[in-house]
Symmetry: C2
Subunit: 340 residues, 2 copies
Amino acid sequence: MRATVMYRAGDVRLEEVPDPQLQTGRDAIVRVVAACVCGSDLWGYRGIAPTDRPRRMGHEFVGIVESAGADVARVQVGDFVIGAFYDCDYTCEVCRSGFSSSCLELGWYDGCQAELVRVPHADGSLAVVPADRLSDELVPHLLTLSDVFGTGHHAAHVAHVGEGSQVAVVGDGAVGLSAILAAHRLGASRIVAMSRNPQRQQLAREFGATDIVEQRGAEGAAVVKELFHGIGPDAVLEAVGTAESMEQAVRSVRPGGVIGYVGVPHGGPELPLRPLFSNNTVLAGGVAPVRNYIDDLLPDVLSGAVEPGRVFDLELPLGEIAEAYRAMDERRAIKVLVRP
Amino acid sequence: MRATVMYRAGDVRLEEVPDPQLQTGRDAIVRVVAACVCGSDLWGYRGIAPTDRPRRMGHEFVGIVESAGADVARVQVGDFVIGAFYDCDYTCEVCRSGFSSSCLELGWYDGCQAELVRVPHADGSLAVVPADRLSDELVPHLLTLSDVFGTGHHAAHVAHVGEGSQVAVVGDGAVGLSAILAAHRLGASRIVAMSRNPQRQQLAREFGATDIVEQRGAEGAAVVKELFHGIGPDAVLEAVGTAESMEQAVRSVRPGGVIGYVGVPHGGPELPLRPLFSNNTVLAGGVAPVRNYIDDLLPDVLSGAVEPGRVFDLELPLGEIAEAYRAMDERRAIKVLVRP
């Protein structure tokens, strides 16, 4: 089959590799219908994270179950499934407590920017979409449940966003935009999007943002605070993962407010504790347990109540995966969907 | 009057200084009945925090209102009052939202290890104790509402400790012990105290600890996790403020659990974000809004349902303030109460 391999910064190739095989009774092989490039894939592509040896890429996918091991009970061959971006058993105490992204048997796929992907805990990691509700138009929206919409929802959920919440969102990438949509879905009454990009500002507004702030740094924080009685919003959703974006969040949130952070920490893994302590800022977030969220979010996707797949503004065949990375890297696209 | 002045590390003196005077209509002068030495006072005493110039010491007190400005309405001359360890108006939006320790008019006293102290926002910072409920035996317990018991309560409160919670407490100083008592009061079913000191272990048990762990570091964290199904407790209350104690908390808490931290960050203000992100650890806490908690905690102190003043294991006259610091510094005392 064909699969995506990153060799080094800026060097992503589609290559012929052996088809994955069932290895245990709990495995399934899924034929990928759609996958995508993640903002976190760009850390390696940009050389910010090292790529010591060639590695297979991709962790977000929807597809059709091609074969399944003898112990797979819930998922059937032929099912259309959404894969959480990590592999989990979804039965252990940690999964049941809501944190499947810290599953006691947590694992990662070999890469699903490919034609086929092996899923070690098929009954855990895969959510089945009812066949009678499927349509091709839904594919992009369903694909976001694999990562970005669930991750945006996580930021809002851990920050206790609900009816009437006052929110600011740092980051206008696919996750930041998803966080806006999630906050809107949860009832936030005011949502400030921090963005300088007209196209992303537009989608932010369509997803529910009530205000746009273009300034950054201390100036941006001051503008955000001013929009909320000079005190700041209840919640800041951080969806970038740099020291700068986290500092933006820390400076903006009100005393006793919550930062819901889902940007993979990068380029600034150390967090100054003093300003958090002085301000009683709650820091919540981490690797989003998207598998736990699918049951909650899927109905609204199937009904069309939310259209999170609008973050995909470019679709390419898998054969053009290198261009998909380039388009994301150069910020020509918010998020790229690829179809094998 | 006599007041405590820190000149440099290890050099604390009781000196004659001018009596404080009313400066605005909102001021009151309080005659101190009891004050105490705080763990945070030791940072300067030990030279870990610099003392660039002589400074007046003390921020926890109970006393009797001696005089009040023309605009003071709620507090009366002759009232027995508990002073929050900071000065707040208790009317601004931030105070009303529960975070008076970030009051928009936040200030600090000149030092109450003294005979008299001026309180700039008397109607805000001072809580009146009903005269008919007062007794001399209650003084130590009431004094803890000025800081340590409220601070321990804050750690438990922000960590959502409630009925059936599983808790570990890092730190066996007065705040850590207060956090144990607060967690017990809130209904925690299991409370692990991390302590090596037999006397403190004993008080921890009497305050509600169900288990004692003497190990520290990675070993201590492993033992704590083992006590909670190998996964860790719902909440870890951190009451020290060093990099080591925070690391202890980070290593011990379950995925998705909360660290309620109230130790003033010191010696390790930078927090590694990666382990928090991987584990979905919520970090909550900061400068405890003790003024907000007094209404909730005072009835249980007046009724004797809790006896937080048992953290005072040494009482000295103000004249022996230098010995009070020494006893705390050498860990001969958990916490020292001084009476002018």
